[in-house]
């Protein structure tokens, strides 16, 4: 800093503290609501001091769910499977196709490249009905393949790896060729280790992408045993002629946020790098 620390610094800190508190406030209220009884939550104004029902609400949420829902533990598992399969799948197929596009010359190479690029222009929301129909025709409704495979194609990840492979010096390829190693050896022994940081960074972003999916699971799964936690929360809120069980819903909401937030905070450095690098 150029200036001496002075009054300006206090203002800066104040701005940041207000920012942090504003960002955290909704979560705090949610946490408080998840430690009260339904009666307490419904009594306006709701207290802002945590109550004694934390364990009770969280175990209700985890092991039995609300009246019109399923236990959250199963949903957490579904979300985890979905997030892991999507993140891993995207990374694997993007690595492979980026490797093919950068290190091979073959007919249709540019056609494939543009085909991958076009997917950027077709987010699932704009082609939702026909895509739903394809999945239903393939009899993949209410199944993990149906939930994950259609979301695995990824232009951004492919581009990121392509950019990165372009920066790998040619001498490395030459060296492995002299050793008599084939392309897949080179891919495994040289490229993959070099891409470690990129993979970690992408993994965080894609894990969150998979975990937070909403529209897709909403349509593809109708069996409650297949609910992901984000969809589960929405189902709990749609109580029809029933009262919403806020404390359990709020406990579920907290449980739904913990894994992705933990991943972001724990892998902060890679996550920020990956985000800024992949420009997506």
């Amino acid at each position: 800093m150029i200036e001496k620390q002075g009054a300006g610094t206090w203002v800066t800190h104040a701005i940041l503290i207000v920012g942090v508190l504003t960002v955290a406030f909704p979560i705090y209220v949610t946490f408080v609501a998840s430690t009260l009884t339904l009666r307490d939550v419904l009594a306006a104004p709701m207290t802002l001091i945590p109550g004694p029902h934390l364990i009770e609400n969280y175990s209700t949420a985890l092991f039995s769910g609300t009246k019109n829902g399923t236990p959250v533990s199963g949903m957490l598992l579904n979300s985890l499977i979905m997030a892991l399969v999507i993140a891993t799948g995207k990374i694997v197929i993007s690595l492979l196709s980026a490797f093919a596009v950068v290190y091979f010359r073959f007919p249709l190479r540019m056609v494939f490249f543009w085909m991958i690029f076009v997917t950027l222009m077709l987010p699932v929301e704009v082609r939702i009905l026909p895509t739903f129909k394809v999945v239903s025709d393939l009899e993949l409704l209410n199944s993990f393949p149906g939930l994950t495979v259609p979301l695995i194609a990824s232009a951004t990840a492919t581009f990121l790896f392509r950019q990165f492979f372009m920066t790998v010096p040619d001498e490395l390829v030459e060296a492995t060729k002299i050793d008599g190693a084939g392309p897949m050896r080179f891919f495994r022994d040289v490229l993959l280790p070099l891409s470690r940081t990129n993979i970690a960074a992408l993994f965080v972003i894609l894990f969150i992408y998979g975990w937070n999916q909403y529209l897709w699971p909403l349509l593809i799964t109708s069996d409650h045993s297949m609910d992901t936690i984000v969809i589960g929360i929405r189902r709990m809120l749609a109580a029809g002629d029933d009262q919403v069980e806020w404390p359990v819903v709020m406990a579920t909401t907290m449980l739904a946020m913990i894994p992705p937030v933990f991943v972001v905070v724990a892998m902060q450095r890679w996550f920020v790098k990956g985000l800024v690098d992949s420009e997506k």
Binding site: M1, E3, Q5, G8, T9, H13, I15, L16, V20, V23, F25, P26, V29, T30, A33, P45, S94, L96, S97, F104, F106, F113, M115, I116, V118, M121, L122, E125, V126, R127, L129, P130, T131, K133, V134, V135, P150, I152, A153, T158, M166, V173, E174, G182, P183, I208, W211, N212, Y214, V230, I233, R234, M250, M257, P260, V261, V264, V265, V272, V276
Partner: protein, 293 residues
């Protein structure tokens, strides 16, 4: 595209790209072409009767006040979210860039909402603003302001904008901070020696250097508000009250899956695709020219 020292192999590259291409064909390109095909037909939900109707579905959409309303709602919503999320994120990023003590802590405390699903962000804010039991609506009522977003369209819009912004600030913050940290300190110091104060330095040096980042973020934020916010709208307002929050994406979903109007929804999909394609082109033409830090 530059081709580098590589391998000559007849089969392997096809095997390598096969998974990606297969998924792209089956789940992207084929459905997209189906959408165009369905957009010129009318069909009952059970698929018992199909009629070719040419551009009737498009004509019906463009005459439908509901669709025009949805266009303006989408514009207001995305611009509000983009403006708010960019402005607040820039303020926080500039502040975080200035402090020395606790910078990392602030950063950690500001980036985590990125991990929260939009639908959940919606639920959090919906709870705070619940007309009967919400903490914030209670305070507003005490101040003599009646909050009822189930009836008041503007209030519903404010609510979904708040939820969408809250979730997006962290993303913008990360990019702005990276942009700020990439600005050479020597530039700032030179300006300081010339006697430029903090404010002037911000307007004459920092902001112009940040503008590529800001423009990139503007496009990203608009795309986010267009598509990723479906969860917020669906979980919080279902497009209501009186269609005040019915964004285009929600309408496509509603017409297809709730109203079972297959042709109308497909025609809207086609229009949406055109919008996304133009946004993507803008983004990429710009990315090509973008200064890489």
């Amino acid at each position: 595209m530059r081709v580098r020292v590589g391998y000559n192999n007849k089969v392997l590259p096809y095997i390598l790209v096969a998974p990606q291409i297969l998924i792209t064909l089956v789940f992207f390109i084929w459905p997209a072409s189906q959408a165009i095909y369905q957009a010129v037909q009318r069909q009952d939900p059970f698929g018992l009767r199909t009629r070719f109707v040419g551009l009737d579905n498009f004509a019906a959409i463009l005459e439908d006040p509901g669709y025009l309303n949805s266009l303006s709602v989408t514009a207001i919503f995305s611009l509000s979210v983009a403006a708010l999320a960019l402005g607040l994120a820039l303020l926080l990023a500039v502040s975080a860039d200035r402090v020395i003590r606790g910078a990392t802590t602030y950063k950690t405390l500001l980036i985590w909402p990125y991990a929260v699903a939009p639908a959940i962000a919606g639920v959090l804010w919906m709870f705070l603003f619940n007309p009967t039991i919400g903490s914030i609506s209670f305070v507003l009522k005490a101040l003599g302001y009646n909050w009822n977003h189930l009836l008041d369209g503007n209030q519903a819009m404010i609510l979904v904008v708040l939820a969408a912004t809250w979730k997006q600030i962290s993303y913008n913050f990360i990019f702005f901070l990276a942009g700020l940290q990439a600005i050479p300190k020597s530039l700032i110091e030179a300006a300081a020696i010339d006697g430029a104060g903090r404010t002037r330095r911000f307007w004459t040096i920092i902001l112009p250097l940040l503008s590529p980042t800001a423009f990139f973020l503007l496009v990203v934020n608009i795309v986010y508000a267009f598509f990723d916010t479906f969860g917020i709208i669906h979980a919080v307002t279902s497009g209501g009250p009186a269609r005040a929050t019915e964004i285009l994406v929600y309408k496509v979903y509603y017409d297809a899956f709730e109203a079972l109007d297959l042709g109308g929804s497909a025609a809207q999909s086609v229009i949406l695709m055109a919008i996304v394609i133009s946004l993507t082109v803008v983004q990429f033409r710009y990315v090509e020219r973008r200064v890489h830090y």
